[in-house]
């Protein structure tokens, strides 16, 4: 089986187990699961370096603010769970219940909305360079950049969590409205569909807000700075030991691209000259052929 199919199968098995587990627990009140959210992994301010001065203080502040938001989200989550019992009923649907439970958990929300943050972090977080103690200045730049990025990431998570709370409140209002409109409680599937609709609307509005866009812009700037600081450190190390560096490879690639352009230009000029001198050849049909030369390219922008 390919790695792709294997990964998908494993993933599906895990999903299936989660749904089956949820079935076993179907008799338990939603409240338990909602409250369990509070035991989830919290962003730890202890990860911040102790010697980064003001930056560390800002990081701690961002962490504290997020802790408060998580706490508020926990309360809201409990309230939501309690209201679910009031307004959602109808035929039992274990799948919808399981999915609804997952979707109403703020941890799921954070997992779903943080994809770009994760990608940025992976792009930025290169090799751990704990042993490079002799390169203090460059290492300090890396640490500063890391601290700044973590702080921005926490702030950005706060914006997403804030959006979850707004969605939760709106969901409770709409849930009550839907349930009372026709005198019957919503079934689980409709309750899930309503959450999807409300949450989607709230997320889209949040993403278009200046606050979200500004925060993401800062996160991109900080993750970029971190990556460049790491590259600077590695370049320094590479030069000292005679290893080829990223800059040197980039030089080679730039030259190669320019030479290919030049080659195509010459080929095109040759073909044009031949075409002017000889009648057009009959169409060929088989096999790949060498590329025709072409006009000159402009240089890469900077």
């Amino acid at each position: 089986m390919s790695e792709y199919a294997k990964a998908l199968t494993n993933f599906w098995s895990a999903q299936g187990k989660a749904v089956l587990d949820a079935q076993e627990k179907a008799a338990r009140a939603l409240t338990d699961n909602m409250q369990a959210m509070l035991s989830g992994r919290m962003p730890s301010v202890a990860e911040a370096p102790g010697d980064a001065g003001a930056l560390t203080a800002e990081l701690t502040q961002a962490g504290d603010a997020l802790m408060q938001l998580w706490s508020a989200a926990g309360s809201l989550s409990t309230e939501l769970a309690s209201n679910m019992g009031k307004y959602v009923g109808g035929a039992k649907d274990d799948t919808a219940t399981a999915v609804l439970e997952r979707m109403l958990d703020p941890r799921q929300w954070m997992a779903g909305t943080g994809e770009l943050d994760d990608v940025l972090a992976r792009m930025a977080e290169g090799p751990r360079l704990a042993d490079m103690w002799d390169l203090e200045r460059r290492f300090a730049r890396v640490m500063r950049a890391w601290t700044a990025m973590r702080r921005r990431a926490l702030e950005h998570q706060g914006i997403a969590l804030d959006a979850w709370m707004r969605a939760g409140r709106r969901y409770m209002e709409e849930l009550a409205g839907h349930a009372s409109a026709d005198g019957h409680p919503l079934d689980r599937k409709r309750a899930l569909a309503l959450w999807t609709e409300v949450a989607n609307r709230e997320l889209l509005q949040t993403q278009r807000s200046e606050r979200f866009l500004g925060s993401q812009r800062e996160l991109i700037r900080n993750s970029t700075e971190l990556r460049m600081a790491q590259q600077d450190l590695v370049e320094h190390f590479g030069k000292q030991y005679g290893f080829p560096t990223r800059s040197e490879l980039d030089d080679v690639h730039r030259s190669l691209t320019e030479m290919r352009r030049e080659l195509r230009r010459v080929r095109r000029a040759l073909a044009d000259a031949q075409a002017a001198a000889v009648p057009t050849p009959p169409p060929a049909n088989d096999g790949p052929v060498a590329p025709a030369p072409r006009a000159p390219r402009r240089k890469a922008t900077s």
Binding site: S2, Y4, A5, L8, T9, F11, W12, Q15, G16, L20, G85, K86, G90, A91, K92, D93, D94, T95, V99, M103, Q108, W109, A111, G112, T113, E115, D118, R122, M123, S180, H184, P185, L192, N200, L203, L204, Q207, L213, Q216, R217, I220, T224, Q231, D250, H253, T257, E258, R260, R261, R264, P283, P288, P291, A292, R294, A295, R297, R298, A300, T301
Partner: protein
């Protein structure tokens, strides 16, 4: 309000149904191999190659009815395989069945070594070479261009720079006015336009400087931001819907395979794409320059068919339709198809409308009767 009573028998039956579904799904997934999930299977031959760029010629599936060959040109974000996802959802097959002589260009998998490739290289370089090769093989002076999304921008610019080499220009879900997302301002539509404008040009430069290219994974994450709840429910709710039906599961997995194949965008070309076009909107203003030449949309005088998706959240219709007021074509047509960005290629309704409209348009303007 009292909670509705739970029927124990119904609950047990429901649980059994889900259990069966899960078991069937697990078995199907366990038995499937990667080769079972094939996309882009329509037979074709490699006829030209330069660096990482490949030009393929499709084998005919029907008698040729349109003499001038057509080239499908996708962009660097995603891959052309969307146009031939599976046998019964394939623009390529539909066009071949209608008698087109069809080619497709594959840009390959750009790596860090390709970071200095520019859009100039792709448009006036590789694309021009492909057109020259097709013209040589078919014994014609002009070809039909079928541009898709970013590839539509490539073909639009090409048609403006080399109108003498283009018989007709067919565009699909192609942005021309990158700021026209504000025309309708529909909720959830045009987020990439807004997001890119929220960055400074220097942010783009540093992003590329730090990463070399614009990683495909990065763009994938931005796309997922556009449909946040759909992205969250994809691997639980959505997958559960299809997992016990082999045909539907394979359809779903084919789409997954296409999504997973997201090449990196060469760095310098990405700078042009994001800064020149998304931020500064130079194309619609005819201010964009390639190889030192201005891309003047007024030079597009050949027939144009501009196809857009009515519910396209990635390329809002107004960003495509802006082309109409800029070209000097004697025959400019628009076709609005139902569905979204990808639905144009795989949607049931779209399947019936899209290829026949293209074939009819090309036939009307066929300079070399088959």
């Amino acid at each position: 309000m009292a909670q509705a009573p739970i029927n124990p028998a119904a609950a047990v039956a429901d649980a059994a149904k889900i259990g069966t579904k899960m078991l069937t799904g697990g078995r199907l997934l366990g038995e499937m191999r990667d080769e079972d999930v094939q996309i882009a299977t329509t037979p074709k031959d490699l006829v030209w190659k330069s660096d990482k760029v490949s030009l393929y010629h499709y084998r005919p599936l029907a008698e040729k009815r349109i003499g001038v060959p057509a080239l499908i040109c996708y962009g660097l974000i995603g891959r052309w395989t969307m146009t031939d996802l599976q046998d019964d959802r394939s623009l390529v097959r539909n066009l071949l069945n209608l008698g087109l002589d069809l080619y497709v260009v594959d840009w390959g998998n750009p790596s860090r070594a390709d970071r200095y490739l520019t859009l100039d290289d792709y448009i006036t370089g590789y694309l021009d070479d492909c057109v020259a090769e097709i013209a040589r093989r078919a014994g014609v002076e002009k070809v039909n261009l079928l541009g898709v999304c970013e590839g539509g921008v490539f073909t639009t610019a090409y048609a403006a720079l080399y109108p003498e080499k283009v018989n007709t220009l067919v565009l699909t879900i192609t942005p021309v006015d990158f700021h026209a997302d504000m025309v309708e301002n529909r909720e959830g539509h045009g987020f990439i336009n807004l997001w890119t404008r929220s960055l400074e040009p220097e942010d783009v430069d540093r992003l590329i400087e730090a990463n070399g290219n614009l990683p495909g994974e990065f763009m994938g994450a931005v796309f997922n931001l556009m449909t946040p709840m759909r992205s969250m429910m994809k691997y639980n709710w959505d997958m559960l819907e299809v997992v016990d039906d082999e045909k539907r599961l394979l359809n779903w997995l084919r789409m997954e395979k296409w999504i997973a194949d997201r090449p990196d965008h060469p760095g310098e070309a990405a700078k042009q794409w994001l800064k020149d076009l998304y931020q500064q909107n130079k194309l619609v203003k005819s201010e964009w320059e390639l190889d030192g030449r201005r891309v003047d949309l007024g030079r597009i005088t050949m027939p144009v068919l501009n196809v857009y998706a009515k519910d396209d959240h990635i390329i809002p219709p107004a960003t495509s339709r802006a082309l109409g007021g800029k070209v000097r074509s004697s025959d400019y047509k628009e076709l609005g198809l139902p569905g979204g960005h990808v639905g144009v290629f795989v949607g049931g309704k779209s399947q019936k409308l899209f290829a026949p409209a293209v074939a009819e348009f090309l036939q009307q303007h066929d300079a070399k009767p088959a």
